[in-house]
Symmetry: C2
Subunit: 233 residues, 2 copies
DNA sequence: CACGAACAAAAAGTCAGACTTATATGTCAC
DNA sequence: GTGACATATAAGTCTGACTTTTTGTTCGTG
């Protein structure tokens, strides 16, 4: 999850990708593979591989006799984990964080409802454990430990929903929660009300009470949105 | 949106991608680029580009001295439009369609609520036009024309939500709706109740009534889920 | 027999150069 | 201005040689 610079082409991507998503090359900009290859001091074949990957992310389009043109932002595959990471690391981080939090607010309540119906005994146990972990680390400036349990909690919910599309958002949620703790100001201990809500969600899932699990999770996500409004109105 | 076989590497992808997502190569299977290059009668450089793209979709992992190994299904980037198309064309189409419909049921109501708040006058007009189009084509076996308006309607909602993550799901919704009309049995005209709901949603968005827009859209998606239960229980 | 170090083989990774192909654009006749 | 045609350009493709990493084996030593 740290550096993904596997191979030369990966290294190039790690440099070009953030530059494009940051808007250094506005939509319509034209790059040439030969020039890029020289700039990054790699062979054309390596550069071509990097361009192919950017193309599969819908960040650029490669056309004969024209070059590699940057596509408009609206066409980017914003669900690509790599793209998400690049954008979160860039300048429009706040905007990106809001988009993702809104996405969470739509997905997670539904996922919790499904989890209440489909969760296995093992998943219920895991969930309870996470909730307890959150409680025990919710006071005394143990933000890092709290974050671990918080991320784990939401991951279990998403996985237990039984929907692969939901499950795949675990990484996104992890990024958002992690960002809140690390980047944004978070001097104080987490909101006790939020902690209680997590405990209640775990209980609702355990008891198979789908509507209640959904409603409680919606309260959590509403809280997350409000928190965002306070920080960046 | 039809054939994306741009260039040789694209052609290879169009063949290898569906094979992998269909499960022809079970997770852990090992492929070798040289062998693949021979099989598809392309040069190694072209095959390498194809592998890089598959790698960026988290479908495979390329490691030295071992080869190109197929990753487990749970790690695939199921939000990649290409991957979605491949899987919808494959054997587990019903399962995939259900996953996507559940996703819709989570996203679209929230998107409609946001649209009611953020939609521009132009978007409202477009939405009304779509709804009227749906009404006028809802009877008399004009399924194709109806589909066009239906897709347009949902696209406008997603775009008007102002959330880029939602907006990017327009293609997914289009695939799902299109699949329902084309692949699954759809002899009869669309459900009149559904048509009415769309008209009401358009009105709610126009009036800026977010809760109503959300609730009505939820009714639509619930209907879609029920429809799915009837077809594939 | 267990354990570790040295070694060899295998496959991806990298590079350089020559060639092909599509295509945007400019030119010229009409 | 419009059409056909020529040309330059940059991506696309192929090939062959070389490098690097990693795995599994072999062999020596405790």
């Amino acid at each position: 999850m740290t550096t993904r610079g596997r191979g030369l082409h990966g290294h190039v991507l790690e440099s070009l990708g953030p530059a494009i998503t940051a808007g250094d090359y506005p939509p319509g900009s034209v790059l040439r593979t030969d020039e890029l290859a020289q700039r990054f001091e790699v062979s054309r074949s390596v550069m071509r591989e990097a361009v192919r990957v950017l193309e599969s992310m819908y960040l650029v389009e490669s056309r004969r006799r024209v070059g590699v043109t940057v596509r408009p932002k609206s066409e980017w595959n914003v669900y690509d984990p790599q793209v998400i990471r690049w954008r979160l690391a860039g300048a429009d981080r706040p905007h990106q964080l809001r988009s993702l939090t809104v996405l969470r607010s739509a997905i997670e309540p539904v996922a919790a409802g499904l989890a209440a119906r489909h969760a296995t005994a093992e998943q219920c146990a895991e969930l309870t454990e996470c909730a307890l972990g959150m409680v025990s680390t919710s006071r005394g400036q143990q933000l890092e430990a709290y974050l671990v349990h918080d991320v784990a909690f939401h991951r279990v919910i998403l996985n237990a929903s039984g929907n692969e599309m939901f499950a795949r958002l675990g990484d996104v949620v992890a990024e958002v929660l992690s960002g809140r703790t690390h980047h944004d100001v978070m001097f104080e201990d987490p909101d006790p009300a939020a902690v209680t809500l997590h405990v209640k969600v775990a209980a609702a899932v355990r008891e198979g009470d789908a509507p209640r699990a959904e409603r409680l999770t919606r309260e959590i996500t509403v809280g997350a949105l409000q928190e965002l409004d306070v920080l960046a109105p």
